[in-house]
């Protein structure tokens, strides 16, 4: 596996998303709708609490990541495009890593839009905006390695549309807890807490990236 090949897969994914932008459009629409509905469900006072607002945001982001990743692999299965990559030497590892890179970029753009909407809609005051940005970046990095791995594991299952969220959400709970607590810490002025949670998120990203690269070649057979 080389960076060159990962970059090629990521660029191919970006091209496909530009040609058929249903992944990013559906993820962004879903995040906006979910944040709006959840904030209405818990009420404006509760929704503007840092812990609640953070949880609403990251739950929406987790679902958006699953949605965008699933759509990306559905596109690969149409016309058996994935076979052309899997048959290439080094194609399996590069597919995992390249998809994770491309989907990180996609999820980052959805997070920017969803974060701005949350701040505006819930009238949130953020005590430490710089720390919030660090936690957000770490949270965005932590999601794709897990989600891409589980979508790959479920790729040959007929009921993968229903199974992927059931399989991946329990595994994402630690990341969601860390991202929620880190975001709440940054919003309420706890710099040490925000950095600690961001560090944990980076550790999750590294662990799942290594795990994914280790098992994905076998999983894709």
């Amino acid at each position: 596996m080389t960076w060159h090949r990962i970059r090629l897969i990521a660029a191919r994914e970006a091209r496909a998303e530009r040609g058929q932008p249903d992944g990013i459009v559906s993820a962004a629409t879903f995040v906006a709708t979910l944040i709006l509905v959840e904030s209405l469900a818990v009420g404006p006072l509760a929704a503007s609490q840092p812990a609640v607002a953070s949880a609403l945001f990251w739950i929406a982001m987790a679902f958006a990541a699953i949605l965008a990743t699933s759509r990306s692999f559905e596109r690969e299965l149409e016309d058996d495009a994935i076979d052309a990559v899997l048959a290439l030497p080094g194609g399996r590892d590069a597919l995992y890593a390249g998809k994770a890179v491309a989907l990180t970029a996609l999820i980052a753009s959805v997070a920017v839009a969803g974060g701005a909407l949350s701040l505006l809609l819930l009238s949130l005051d953020v005590a430490l905006p710089g720390h919030l940005a660090i936690v957000a970046v770490a949270g965005v990095l932590a999601l794709p390695p897990v989600v891409v791995l589980f979508v790959v594991l479920a790729l040959r299952l007929r009921s993968r549309g229903a199974l992927v969220p059931i399989l991946v959400l329990p595994v994402l709970v630690p990341q969601l807890v860390a991202a929620t607590n880190g975001t709440a810490a940054a919003a309420s002025g706890d710099a040490t807490g925000a950095i600690a949670w961001a560090g944990l998120l980076i550790a999750f990203a590294l662990v799942y990236s290594v795990l994914g690269l280790t098992i994905v070649a076998t999983a894709l057979e």
Binding site: Q20, E78, D80, D83
Partner: protein, 196 residues
């Protein structure tokens, strides 16, 4: 004669069904035709040679430069035929500047080649997929029902391409129901029977 690829005592199980059982096959330079009724395992055999299905038992030997063209074109939707082929060429480390001429030789004009593949007809997508043979220049070319969806002119070109590849001492394995004119020039015709 040295073989380009081989399956040795290969067993492939899909679901609860053994599609290939203890199967031996050596592929030599030239043309190998695989024949058999529906469900006899032609596609599975080619996918096993390409490394796209795992072997339950046995071993697979194949060159790194193996090209598998399945029954569908294998091109990513949302991306043009030109960019699909450029990506595959770059991934293999072969020059991507041969993509335009290769697509043109298969009747895909420059304007068509830059459109997203989902806007092309089935035949155009198939021909764009076949242009990978010229771009990637692989030592082993696996073609699964390559004459489906293409018109007579493209079929004639495919037959010419197969003869050229065989003349260059490359190995071509073709799974097909039709095109019996391939058999006399083939190194070997493999007949598969449906698994019992």
């Amino acid at each position: 004669m040295n073989s380009t690829a081989a399956l040795r005592a290969a067993t492939v199980v899909l679901g609860d069904r053994a599609i290939l059982r203890g199967f031996d096959l050596e592929i030599h330079p030239g043309v190998t035709v695989v024949r058999g009724p529906n469900g006899s395992g032609k596609t599975t055999l080619l996918r096993a040679l390409a490394g796209l299905v795992p072997l339950s038992h046995g071993a697979r030997e194949a060159p790194a430069r193996t090209l598998y063209l399945g029954q569908r074109p294998g091109l990513l939707r949302g991306v043009s035929a030109r960019d699909n082929l450029r990506f595959l060429a770059s991934f293999r480390g072969v020059p991507a500047d041969g993509v335009g001429p290769a697509l043109a030789s298969w009747g895909i004009a420059a304007g068509t080649a830059t459109r997203p593949v989902e806007t092309l007809s089935a035949g155009e997508r198939r021909r764009a997929g076949l242009a990978r043979i010229d771009v990637e220049r692989c030592d082993l070319v696996l073609l699964d029902e390559p004459f489906g969806d293409i018109d007579d002119a493209a079929a004639a070109q495919l037959l010419r391409t197969i003869r050229v590849l065989a003349g260059e001492r490359r190995s071509v394995v073709i799974a097909t129901h039709a095109r019996f004119e391939l058999d006399p020039g083939a190194n070997e015709v493999v007949h598969l029977s449906p698994p019992g």
